[in-house]
């Protein structure tokens, strides 16, 4: 049987070059293609995801949290949630996992040119937005204000902490981090990320927002952005549903008329506003 390398159902082996522990339950894999299975540099758009296959356990969708263009490495940041992500957390440098992708829609960076950009992340939702803020800062002159708001559970759960500190020292982007619950020694903001939106500086007539996190957090963030006067079509959110095929065949991820794997995960809010918060579909 001939297997086409570009067949979206065929997984490709990648070796874990490095596993970086981010917090108690979250880690980043820095992956490089196994020799002979590479296909040049890995092209993706911020917001897209790959299917990560832990051999013998199962496959899960994980967003791409970065690439290292100079050496073709790929980064995925994962929070342990259950069976497969739990097995991923037990892998180590040198172990091999399977990758299919990239799949899905992406954040609207081109639509943000010439506008204020508000990036709102909650918890692990920062990982899919990491390529966005890195791209925005990399192309700084093309955007007006850039604001990153990040809500975390506690100070110990803050992802990419030193990266955020560096960004925040950089005048190109305003970074506000808040925690739901403070612990000893935390001198930063306390409170939910949505409450930061109230006074954040942006012009709602010429702005775009990208929001990623738990569904409830996204819903309340959207309310707050609307209250500030931002139009529904300028608010983008990233949806999560269980997936199998990731290419729109199996119907596993269907959400009303949309397939999250193919039409999403990133949607303009006006396209799915009537579905968000619906209990059963």
């Amino acid at each position: 049987m001939t297997v086409l390398l570009d067949d979206p159902m065929v997984t490709t082996p990648w070796v874990i070059d490095q596993m970086r522990r981010e917090t108690a339950d979250t880690f980043t894999f820095i992956l490089k293609p196994v020799k002979g299975h590479g296909r040049g540099s890995f092209q993706f758009e911020p917001g897209q995801f790959n299917m990560l296959y832990v051999f013998g356990t199962g496959e899960v969708p994980i967003s791409i949290s970065g690439t290292q263009e100079q050496n073709g490495k790929l980064e995925h940041t994962t929070r342990v949630a259950g069976t497969v992500t739990g097995a991923m957390g037990k892998l180590r440098s040198g172990d091999v996992i399977g990758i299919r992708g990239p799949f899905g829609s992406h954040w609207p960076i081109e639509n943000a040119i010439g506008k204020d950009v508000i990036v709102v992340a909650g918890g692990i939702g920062l990982a899919p937005l990491r390529p966005v803020y890195n791209a925005l800062v990399g192309r700084r002159d093309e955007f007006n204000k850039i604001v990153l708001l990040y809500g975390s559970r506690t100070p110990e759960d803050i992802l990419f902490r030193s990266e955020l500190e560096k960004l925040s020292a950089n005048l190109d982007i305003e970074v506000f981090v808040t925690v739901d619950r403070s612990t000893m020694g935390w001198r930063g903001n306390v409170g939910v990320v949505t409450s930061l939106l109230r006074n954040v500086p942006f012009d709602p007539r010429n702005a775009v927002a990208m929001v990623c996190g738990p569904e409830i957090m996204m819903r309340f963030s959207v309310h707050e952005l609307q209250r500030r006067g931002l139009k529904e079509e300028e608010i983008y959110i990233s949806m999560e549903r269980n997936m199998k095929c990731a290419i729109g065949h199996c119907g596993h991820c269907q959400y009303g008329p949309e397939f999250i794997c193919k039409d999403g995960p990133v949607f303009p809010y006006n396209r799915i506003s009537n579905l968000l918060g619906t209990r059963e579909l």
């Binding site: 957390g89 559970r153 759960d157 903001n189 409170g191 409450s195």
Partner: protein
């Protein structure tokens, strides 16, 4: 006075107030400057002012023996601070401590309440602002209690080995 009116007019919380009502509020307000670590008010103290932060940040804290001090919320420039001034016995429930050099507008609660009695429209408009602020805080507190970024409580989480 004009400076106070401008600050109030440009504050997101007060955008529904008419210029006349802004003037009434400004006439009952003053600007205060605060050093880092200053207590704007303390738990059980008399709630004789309410505030709008114009610079800096303030931690809303509670202190209890055995617990130490817990910060529940951080307020930043533009935020409204305080609602205990509206309800008898007019006592603060929490401490408010500045986290950096800060500035605020302090509104005199007693004279604002007096004005409510004489001008019910003014009272209604200000009450709506305070009620909105309370709603925001309740929603925020509920989201905090939900522990949105935590594990699903029905399922055992794993830690990385």
């Amino acid at each position: 006075m004009k400076q106070l009116e401008n600050i109030i007019t440009n504050n997101e919380n007060f955008k529904t107030l008419s210029p006349e009502h802004v003037k009434e509020l400004a006439g009952r307000a003053s600007i205060i400057d605060l050093e880092t670590g200053a207590f704007m008010f303390c738990q059980d103290g008399k709630a004789d002012h309410f505030y709008v932060l114009t610079k800096g940040s303030v931690g809303l804290e509670i202190h209890a023996a055995g617990w130490g001090t817990v910060t529940m919320q951080t307020l930043r420039s533009g935020d409204l601070l305080g609602w205990s001034w509206m309800f008898p016995p007019y006592r603060w429930h929490f401490d408010a401590k500045t986290l950096e050099p800060s500035q605020a507008i302090a509104f005199d609660a007693a004279t604002v309440r007096d004005k409510f009695k004489k001008d019910s429209d003014f009272g209604y408009q200000v009450m709506k602002i305070v009620a909105t602020h309370m709603m925001d805080r309740i929603v925020a507190a509920r989201l905090q209690i939900l522990d949105l970024y935590g594990k699903n409580p029905d399922h055992q989480g794993y830690a990385i080995r």
